[in-house]
């Protein structure tokens, strides 16, 4: 019997599951990360404090713990009927947003202060200064670290597989329960993860190259 050929549709389901979890979490992490980075450099002290707390809390909490909170505490006290995909995306997305925020913030710090001052001096608001002047110039330094952050995210979504989500990790569990050779299962699962992470790597290489040329 052949693990892969016998269970092709299951593998495909797991692969797509991992892709969906990664994609949705990356989107959440990206949007939140940029907003939190903005908070951290904003002139409003409460926002700065909120941003610092967000990053410190999420970056220093084990992701498994976040999953436990998301699946066992959140439904009890806040939202009783969120589906497990949404909860997993929130856990992975929030967690990763802290890393994205730090990457974006260090990118912001590489843009000379005079750029923001010039923008403010012609009457731009803080949000305009960030989105029109500072962030576009920060992109080049933000993109390389984002690549590793999103590769880490891909692997982290495996935890979601242990929490009621069908992804590659979940499929490996199912198949080993079905009695297939665990070494062979892992070989294929690893290969599938490699495809995703390699694609992310390539995508960011391309992006970096684009930004290089645009200079």
């Amino acid at each position: 019997m052949n693990v892969l050929l016998d269970n092709l549709s299951l593998f495909r389901e797991g692969f797509i599951g991992t892709l969906e979890l990664t994609g949705a979490s990356a989107l959440v992490a990206m949007v939140l990360g940029v907003i939190i980075a903005g908070f951290r450099v904003s002139p409003v002290p409460p926002l700065r404090i909120f941003g610092a707390l967000w990053v410190t809390l999420l970056r220093n909490t084990p992701l498994t713990l976040l999953f436990l909170v998301a699946f066992f505490v959140v439904p009890k006290v806040l939202f009783p009927d969120l589906d497990s995909f949404l909860l997993a995306v929130c856990a992975c997305g929030f967690y990763t947003s802290a890393f994205v925020a730090e990457a974006v913030r260090s990118g912001i710090n590489t843009v000379p202060l005079g750029q923001a001052e010039a923008a403010r001096s012609i009457g731009m608001t803080f949000t305009q200064t960030m989105s029109l002047v500072v962030l576009p110039q920060a992109t080049r330094t933000v993109v390389p670290p984002l690549s590793s952050i999103f590769i880490a995210l891909t692997k982290n979504t495996a935890i979601a597989g242990a929490f009621n989500n069908v992804d590659l990790f979940n499929v490996s569990k199912t198949l080993s329960n079905d009695g297939y050779d665990i070494a062979v299962i892992f070989l294929w699962i690893t290969l599938a993860y490699l495809i995703v992470t390699y694609a992310i790597n390539g995508l960011f290489r391309l992006l970096e190259h684009r930004l290089e040329v645009a200079r």
Binding site: P43, V44, P112, G114, Q115, E117, A118, A119, R120, S121, I122, G123, M124, T125, F126, Q128, L132, V133, P136, Q137
Partner: protein
């Protein structure tokens, strides 16, 4: 039959465009602005000079609130500077600022630099903004560089673009913080000429500079600062020929020998 009271209230004089009253600021233990009182009339050109570290830049930056002050009031055209936020942004648009290090937006072309504020802050149509930008670039003599990026321009050209960028907002007053200090000697004049022209056209200007030639020919008033205080204010003639304070005499003897 009601009696109409015509007593004048404490409203600022009509032509009092910028007014600082009793302004104080510290950087830690350093008292950089000490009880600064300064009013600038519409159309006036005021040159601020003084030794390094005397607080000239801080004064300039306080006027459009790039630096906050601890006490005292700063008003622009009668309106006190508001707290950080949308309203402050609107007020800043009326106060042009030219920096020593140009600070052109590095990721935008020269033309885009001059258009950005018009489009995003003043909400001017793109076509109209471009037209105005080109006219301003011609006026400061860099019209042919419109499609280049700032890094491709000489310092003098960049600074003239920066002046055009500030002018594009139709500011009520322009602040210059040592606009020629970062320039090679042969480029200083091209920038000073643009500023001279601006002064002749009636722009209200506050200029921090070490260019005494410019102060003599373009300024209505020289403000001499030392150690965070305004030590002396006079017409350029008076100030350069007959400085009253010892600090000013000392300062002038040092710089005029070079």
């Amino acid at each position: 039959m009601a009696e109409v009271s015509v007593t004048k209230d404490a409203a600022p004089a009509a032509d009092e465009l910028v007014a600082l009253k009793n302004v104080n600021k510290h950087f830690g233990a350093l008292h950089v602005l000490q009880d600064i009182d300064l009013t600038i009339a519409a159309g006036e050109v005021v040159v601020v000079i003084g030794p390094s570290g005397s607080g000239k830049s801080t004064l300039c930056r306080a006027i459009n609130r790039l630096e906050t002050v601890e006490s005292g009031t700063i008003t622009i055209d009668g309106k006190p500077l508001p707290q950080e936020g949308k309203e402050l942004a609107r007020l800043r648009a009326d106060v042009g600022m030219v920096f020593q290090s140009f600070n052109l937006f590095a990721h935008k072309t020269v033309l885009e630099n001059v258009m950005l504020g018009q489009v995003k802050v003043r909400k001017v149509e793109k076509a109209a903004a471009a037209q105005k930008a080109r006219a301003l670039l011609d006026r400061v003599g860099v019209g042919t560089q419109a499609d280049k990026y700032p890094a491709q321009l000489s310092g003098g050209q960049q600074q003239r673009v920066a002046i055009a960028r500030a002018l594009a907002m139709d500011p009520k007053v322009m602040l210059f913080d040592e606009p020629t200090s970062a320039l090679d000697p042969e480029m200083i004049n091209e920038v000073l000429e643009v500023m001279q022209q601006l002064a002749r056209d009636g722009m209200t200007m506050i200029v921090v500079t070490h260019e005494m030639g410019f102060a003599r020919s373009a300024a209505n008033r020289v403000v001499f600062m030392a150690d965070g205080r305004i030590v002396e204010q006079a017409t350029p003639d008076e100030f350069f020929n007959n400085p009253r304070s010892d600090r000013a005499k000392d300062f002038l003897s040092k710089i005029l020998h070079h």
